[in-house]
């Protein structure tokens, strides 16, 4: 193999490698989504977050508009403090928006669903969502059901 052909194949090899890396980052990874500008953060306090994890999606009307960026415990109220990072193009969430922790399917992963309110002022970076609904914990649900049945049986 002469020198020019050799250099050409090596050049193609290097280009293919870098191309594969770029494709991985953009097509397989989330680099294209992460680079769409600086997202803003709002927080919400929940009594119980169930199985919610960091990076779980935040949806509005079923459309993904952000992700859970941090979960911590509020030491004062013994409740969970969930930080949501929302994509900057969705900057018109009313301040009385409510957040609830929902489950995708019967056994699916949990996510935060937002329900917009009707106020004219919008949530900004650092604001807190006041109206929240905790995750449904299956054991609590069953416990409540049994309790109700026992109560109903005793009354009749």
């Amino acid at each position: 193999m002469n020198r020019g052909a050799l250099e050409l194949t090596v050049g193609l090899f290097v280009l293919a490698g870098i191309g594969a890396l770029a494709l991985l980052a953009f097509k397989v990874g989330n680099l294209s989504a992460a680079n769409s500008g600086e997202s803003y953060r709002i927080s919400a306090r929940f009594d119980n977050i169930g199985g919610l994890t960091v990076k779980a999606p935040v949806t509005l009307a079923g459309v993904r508009i952000g992700r859970v960026s941090n979960i911590s415990i509020d030491r004062k109220y013994y409740s969970a403090l969930v930080e949501l990072s929302i994509e900057p193009k969705y900057d018109n969430l009313p301040v009385d928006t409510s957040a609830s922790i929902l489950t995708a399917g019967l056994l699916g992963a949990q996510y935060v669903g937002l329900d917009p309110g009707g106020e004219e002022t919008f949530l900004a970076n650092g604001d807190r969502i006041e109206i929240t609904q905790s995750a449904v914990v299956l054991e609590h649900l069953i416990g409540q059901l049994l309790f109700n049945r026992a109560e109903g049986g005793g009354g009749s």
């Binding site: 193999m1 050799l6 250099e7 194949t9 090596v10 090899f13 290097v14 293919a16 490698g17 870098i18 594969a20 890396l21 494709l23 991985l24 980052a25 097509k27 397989v28 990874g29 989330n30 680099l31 294209s32 989504a33 992460a34 990076k55 999606p57 399917g105 056994l107 699916g108």
Partner: protein
């Protein structure tokens, strides 16, 4: 008494070997800096180390991805979670199988060839002849190969991973009926460019460094007989494979909590 003595001899020999390998590495790294001026030598080695390894890496990647999709689908479908197939395939490949399997293939295909070539150069006294002509074999022979191996590993691993993901797509979407859009979107949802892909690339850089180091050192250190060269080649493949698997455990425990 004799067995204790042989144990001691073995330990001393092992430590001397490590010391030689370390000294060799420091020489090789200084020579690498010098060889940057003569990049033509490196290009030549990139061809024999990287391009010639490409075929086996691509074919293996395709089949690994296809098998992953097949096995993953059978397990996931029991939980009704076959929509996560893309994520399973992509995470397995970017985090573990891409870097590790590429490094093992690289050790078998390129590492053994490097050792045999350098060992044979030593056995036929080509290295000694170079020294006679005041050409440093470290700079002329070892450094270009070292640099080429180190550079081509991450490129090969990236291609392995990409082809694996495509193989998973072929089986998952073409054969098993997962939706194509779901396959890609579940992947983008769960694979993090920094945490998964970048860390996988760091792994492959480390593996490339270690495999090339072992291969070049074993060749340079081989007993200059035909038997010695064949032993050195075996040691390269066994040693670097073990090093890759052991290091992979360490790196994984450091990177992914």
């Amino acid at each position: 008494m004799n067995s204790v003595r042989s144990l001691g001899a073995w330990v001393i020999k092992a430590i001397i070997g490590w010391g030689r390998a370390g000294l060799f590495l420091s020489h090789a790294l200084t020579a690498v800096v010098l060889v940057l001026r003569r990049f033509g030598l490196v290009v030549q080695q990139l061809f024999s180390v990287g391009v010639l390894t490409l075929v086996i890496v691509l074919v293996s990647g395709l089949f690994v991805g296809m098998v992953l999709a097949l096995q993953g689908y059978n397990t996931l479908v029991d939980f009704g979670a076959e929509s996560q197939l893309g994520l399973v395939v992509a995470l397995t490949l970017t985090r573990e199988l891409g870097p590790v399997l590429t490094a093992l293939l690289f050790a078998g295909r390129a590492g053994s060839a490097l050792t045999a070539e350098i060992g044979l150069m030593k056995a036929t006294e080509q290295l000694a002849a170079m020294e006679m002509m005041a050409v440093d074999p470290m700079e002329r022979v070892v450094a270009p190969r070292f640099l080429a191996g180190f550079l081509s590993m991450p490129l090969l691993a990236a291609m392995f991973t990409l082809v694996g993901v495509i193989g998973g797509h072929l089986v998952g979407v073409g054969l098993l009926g997962v939706d194509s859009g779901v396959y890609w979107s579940s992947m983008q949802e769960g694979v993090d460019a920094h945490a998964d892909i970048f860390n996988g690339m760091i792994k492959s850089l480390v593996f490339g460094f270690v495999v090339t180091w072992v291969a070049v050192f074993e060749g340079y250190d081989a007993t200059p007989t035909s038997e010695g060269v064949s032993r050195a080649t075996t040691r390269t493949v066994v040693g670097s494979s073990l090093a890759v698997l052991g290091l992979d455990f360490v790196l994984t425990s450091l990177m992914f909590e």
